[in-house]
């Protein structure tokens, strides 16, 4: 019920909400849980496994019972959901459900840096932040709630004023820090935003969680933590019960007693200590003893001590306080058992723990710690401050606590972890099975693995295990604390990295033309490359055959702008390339181009491409599309770490240049029209040379005679700004020749017909140049990276896999790429000896049949042999051939 006055709610702003289909009202400033209690709704969904009635147990992030689904968000704690008008919630038994429309919600990320990060906005956190910020340091205060007025607390009527004065103080309220990583890198969930915070100093003022006491039937609705009862009364002006029993082991619950009495409740106290305080003057009976059991149909109606039964509708429990050490422990700080609780011991990062989180429960001492930490942090980050005056705090006398780990009773109904429904009986079973480590017991019983991260169960569990084993909880130590310490959704972690923003798509300057002309695209790394250009009614096979035919018989063009390009400049550029490539580049004449192959130090093929020599000290290297960044890194690594004496430097120019391949017997005529100043005759412009010229529309261009198809072919390189204009010019001039745009699939077929391997398709990091049948490209004179490895016996053995051709016996059958090949006489019962696999396989227009490339053991010496590809439901027979299928003499490249 709602008290007539008090609390921090705004009674002028009533809100309506719906819980499990019933409409209720609350006020601005309520949590869902406080509004429920105001409406007399203490009971929530039954427990997950035992289906026992349960109620709101706490008033914060330690809540094990009151899980709700709010809209698309599952598994929220009613105790931390801020009440909003029109809120619709449903109580959950342990597990929530993701709903499909949760994808519509907008999540985001923020990255921020701060001098000092203060986690926790209670009195200590607020004091630390105010202090640290006073000298101008950048301070971020992150807390579950941040009241706008003075923070008042027990013993201090004035409290701590708001800290907004400091210029660089930033407050995130309603936020939860849940992950603490190296270098003071902290993740904070704030509404729909995931904050990545990097701080020079961190002050942890995360407070403490009150612990329950384990007794029989300690899980009924109406049983709550004592601190929570007080919080509901003082912060929200709601009274969870009129006839209350308070069961405590320590002084802190007496504040709850006072609040209950002040609210008009009838109160009886059961204190575990032999000489509890005397409250007779206030009309409160205090019994020295223990609660042993509870009663009620569902909600609590009575409790029993060893010798009495007391009628009540509320039991407020305090088993002492465990500092919230989750984040400190995540930061690799060590913990220590002080006889009552685990407290921070040695920090591993630049952080400070203050107040209750440090086991300092006395308010005055906590504020002194917070001030000192604030002063220390401010000085450490270069914005020193003098110690501020402490707010007036009344001193209190403390009676030592008397912890109770376990009250005798039926262990099957003595609950240790309410969310996991785990009991003392479960722990006994684990210990009885020989488990000694809390890690093992935790895994066996699942205690502490719920969404509440065991905030109210870890220490009681340790207490019970310790009691069973006859040791102290300190002897056992805690289980490991891991992020996230509060539940966060995957959607929050993903932020806006979804849909088209999930992964960048790279496009060339000519991309819009490809889209406008109906290209189908293929992903190559991040690039979108035209795969083929189907005409109306064409399928892929037909389109590719048409494109191939155009390249072999007429003229075709391809956007090759995605090729990696690197300018290698310096007096030793030639020497450097000589050391990187298996073949020589030092003697390549200016104006010429050469195909090169590169190995890693293990002698395996790494990348390939054509390099042009632009000047004595300047080369233009092209790489595979996917290998560009790796090759540049590889160059830098060798240059910086092995040969710093070489005068050579590298600059990526992949996107400086757009490259257009013009291919086919009629390409010379088209290039002649496109580049009217150029003498395109074979004599004036021979194969593997390049020319600088100006295109018909005035664009400066570098044209090379390079062929990846065996046909007469050119590559036109222009500045990326002019890529589209150059493409249009070539397309226009090529119209009389019916110039045909082609995509990556046709490129693959054309090169495969010539037996040109593609690094990464026909090689896989286990293939040497010799395996590819390319011994001609491996220099015997000079040294290069990988040369020594190529002399290893293993790289020279005869049964290595060689790149060969495969011609299916049935010319219409297409071998699937990746198909394993076996000998024709191999038994088809496992283990079947594998001879190798198909790396590329296509239909060829010019061969009028299918063909394939394959890596086959000792393949070059098995030409003519028939191998089989067993494919489950069928077997394809294919003949091993040389890997060159078309124009073996190389007669076509000059037109």
């Amino acid at each position: 019920m709602r008290l007539p006055e008090g609390g921090e709610i705004d009674r002028t702003k009533p809100l309506t909400f719906t819980l499990d289909g019933v409409e209720y009202s609350g006020f601005e400033g309520d949590t869902l849980a406080s509004a429920m209690i105001a409406n007399g709704v203490l009971q929530v969904a039954p427990s997950l496994y035992r289906h026992r009635p349960r109620g709101i147990f706490s008033a914060g992030i330690e809540e094990p019972n009151a899980l709700v689904q709010v809209g698309p968000e599952p598994s929220l704690q009613a105790t931390t959901v801020r009440l909003t008008d029109g809120l619709v919630a449903r109580t959950l038994s342990g597990v929530g459900r993701l709903t499909p429309d949760s994808g519509q919600r907008r999540y985001d990320k923020r990255y921020t840096h701060t001098d000092v990060l203060v986690i926790g906005a209670g009195p200590a956190g607020r004091m630390a932040a105010t202090t640290a910020a006073a000298g101008g340091a950048r301070v971020m205060l992150v807390g579950l709630s941040y009241p706008s007025g003075n923070v008042r607390f027990r013993g201090s009527p004035q409290g701590i004023p708001p800290a907004d004065g400091a210029a660089e103080l930033r407050v995130l309220s309603g936020a939860r820090a849940f992950g603490y990583y190296d270098s003071n890198y902290v993740l904070v969930a704030h509404q729909q935003t995931l904050w990545h915070v990097r701080a020079r100093r961190v002050i942890l003022a995360t407070g403490a969680h009150e612990q329950p006491i384990v007794f029989e039937n300690n899980d009924r609705p109406g049983i709550m933590l004592a601190g929570a009862v007080r919080k509901y009364i003082t912060n929200y002006a709601v009274l969870p019960g009129r006839k209350a029993v308070v069961f405590t082991t320590n002084d802190s619950a007496y504040a709850t007693v006072a609040a209950l009495v002040q609210s008009g409740a009838e109160v009886t106290v059961v204190d575990s200590r032999p000489n509890p305080p005397d409250l007779a003057p206030q009309g409160v009976e205090v019994i020295s003893g223990l609660i042993t059991n509870t009663d009620g149909p569902e909600r609590l109606t009575a409790v029993s001590t060893q010798d009495r039964r007391i009628e009540c509708d509320l039991l407020a429990v305090s088993g002492g306080w465990q500092p919230a050490v989750h984040l400190f422990s995540q930061s690799r700080g060590t913990l220590r058992w002080n006889g009552q609780a685990f407290v921070p011991d040695t920090p591993a990062q630049a952080n400070h723990v203050v107040g209750a989180a440090n086991g300092t429960f006395d308010t005055r001492a906590a504020l002194i710690e917070a001030t000192e930490a604030g002063v220390e942090a401010a000085a450490a980050v270069g914005y020193p401050v003098p110690p501020p005056p402490l707010p007036a705090v009344r001193e209190r006398e403390i009676t030592p606590a008397s912890p109770v780990w376990l009250v005798p009773g039926d262990p099957r109904n003595q609950f240790v972890d309410l969310q996991r429904d785990a009991t003392v009986a479960d722990i006994r079973r684990a210990v009885g099975a020989g488990m000694r480590s809390p890690e093992h017991v935790k895994r066996y019983t699942t205690i502490g693995t719920g969404t509440d991260q065991g905030r109210t169960s870890n220490v009681p569990a340790l207490g019970v295990i310790a009691a069973e084993l006859g040791v102290t909880p300190g002897d056992l130590g805690t289980t490991t604390f891991r992020a996230p310490s509060v539940p966060v959704s995957f959607a929050l972690m993903a932020g806006r990295d979804r849909g088209k923003l999930h992964d960048p798509i790279r496009t060339t300057p000519i991309h819009s033309w490809h889209v406008a002309h109906g290209a189908e695209f293929e992903n190559v790394g991040h690039w979108k490359r035209p795969w083929f250009y189907p005409k109306p009614g064409e399928d892929m096979e037909t389109a590719v055959l048409r494109e191939c035919r155009a390249a072999r018989t007429g003229v075709a063009m391809q956007d090759a702008s995605t090729l990696g390009k690197i300018e290698v400049v310096g007096a030793d550029a030639g020497e450097f390339l000589n050391r990187m490539y298996t073949n020589g580049f030092k003697k390549l004449p200016v104006g010429s181009a050469r195909y090169g192959m590169m190995c890693k130090a293990d002698g395996m093929v790494f990348d390939d491409g054509v390099t042009m020599r632009l000047a004595d000290d300047r080369y233009y290297v092209t790489t595979t599309t996917g290998g560009a960044a790796n090759v540049l890194d590889w160059f830098e690594e060798w240059s910086q770490t092995e040969w710093p004496e070489l005068d050579v430097r590298f600059t990526s120019v992949t996107e400086q240049w757009s490259t257009i391949a013009v291919v086919g017997p009629q390409s010379r005529a088209v290039i002649g029209l496109v580049a009217p100043d150029l003498d395109v005759s074979n004599e004036a412009f021979p194969f593997m040379t390049f020319r600088e010229t100006t295109l018909v529309n005035g664009i400066p261009a570098r044209i090379a005679r390079i062929s990846f198809s065996g046909e007469l072919a050119y590559e036109v390189n222009v500045s990326g700004w002019y890529g589209l204009a150059a493409w249009n010019a070539i397309h226009d001039e090529g119209k009389p020749y019916d110039i045909t745009p082609y995509g990556t699939e046709t490129m693959h077929v054309l090169r495969a017909e010539k037996g040109f391997p593609i690094v990464g398709q026909d090689t896989d990091g286990t293939v040497t140049p010799h395996d590819l049948g390319m011994s001609w490209i491996v220099s015997r004179q000079k040294d290069f990276v990988g040369k020594r490895s190529l002399r290893r016996p293993d790289t020279a053995r005869p049964d290595r896999k060689h790149l060969v051709g495969l011609l299916p016996v049935d010319p219409a059958e297409l071998l699937p790429e990746g198909a394993q090949m076996v000998a024709s006489d191999a038994p088809l019962t496992p283990p079947v000896p594998m001879e190798g696999h198909v790396t590329s396989s296509y239909r060829s227009a010019v061969l009028e049949r299918t063909f394939a490339l394959a890596l086959i053991k000792n393949g070059r010496h098995r030409i003519g042999e028939t191998l089989l590809a067993p494919l489950g439901d069928r077997v394809i027979a294919a003949t091993v051939t040389e890997p060159v299928f078309y124009d073996k003499e190389g007669a076509r490249r000059d037109g």
Partner: protein, 174 residues
């Protein structure tokens, strides 16, 4: 119609500064070649990491211990030849990247992990970093603040999409 086309031509709501002249210079910072290049630029090659020196209409961005990016206005076509030196690598990279102007630190903090607070990053600073999932050269040109993002042409549309999307969310998250 102009033959030149910038990567973000026609992209709505994004301030692209197209066709800036950019020349990558790699040279030993202490040698004669560096001195001659500085002299011709009329400003020193900055040696403070991630700093920018203005030289008339041109700007010199320090990218690495031996690497600078000289940025000139559109049409500064003589720049590569001006800087050419026998023992330096001088490469025209004008079309390698395009430039996007952004006037919100808040916007960038949704996708950039660097500290952009004025105490840590201000006019005259640059950095090679990531915005969301693409590499950029981030360069602050004014304390208002005004930032330039130099992004590879192939990634420009992705970055523009990301910026447009982020603009929609900056108003709602403080």
């Amino acid at each position: 119609m102009s033959l030149r086309r910038s990567p973000l031509a026609g992209y709505p709501g994004i301030t692209e500064i197209p066709f800036l002249t950019m020349v990558n210079v790699r040279v030993r910072p202490t040698g004669d070649a560096a001195a001659r290049i500085s002299e011709r630029l009329g400003g020193p090659l900055p040696v403070v990491p991630n700093s920018v020196v203005d030289a008339g209409s041109r700007h010199i961005l320090m990218l690495g211990p031996d690497e600078w990016l000289v940025v000139g206005p559109d049409g500064d076509t003589g720049l590569p030849d001006l800087l050419r030196e026998p023992s330096a690598s001088v490469v025209d990279v004008s079309a390698n990247r395009t430039t996007i102007e952004v006037r919100s630190r808040d916007l960038l903090e949704h996708g950039c992990t660097l500290d952009l607070h004025p105490r840590a990053f201000h006019a005259g600073r640059c950095a090679q970093t990531m915005i969301a999932r693409t590499q950029v050269i981030l360069w602050q040109t004014s304390d208002e603040p005004v930032y330039r993002l130099l992004v590879r042409g192939s990634f420009a549309t992705y970055l523009a999409d990301w910026l447009s999307d982020a603009t929609g969310s900056t108003s709602s998250t403080g």
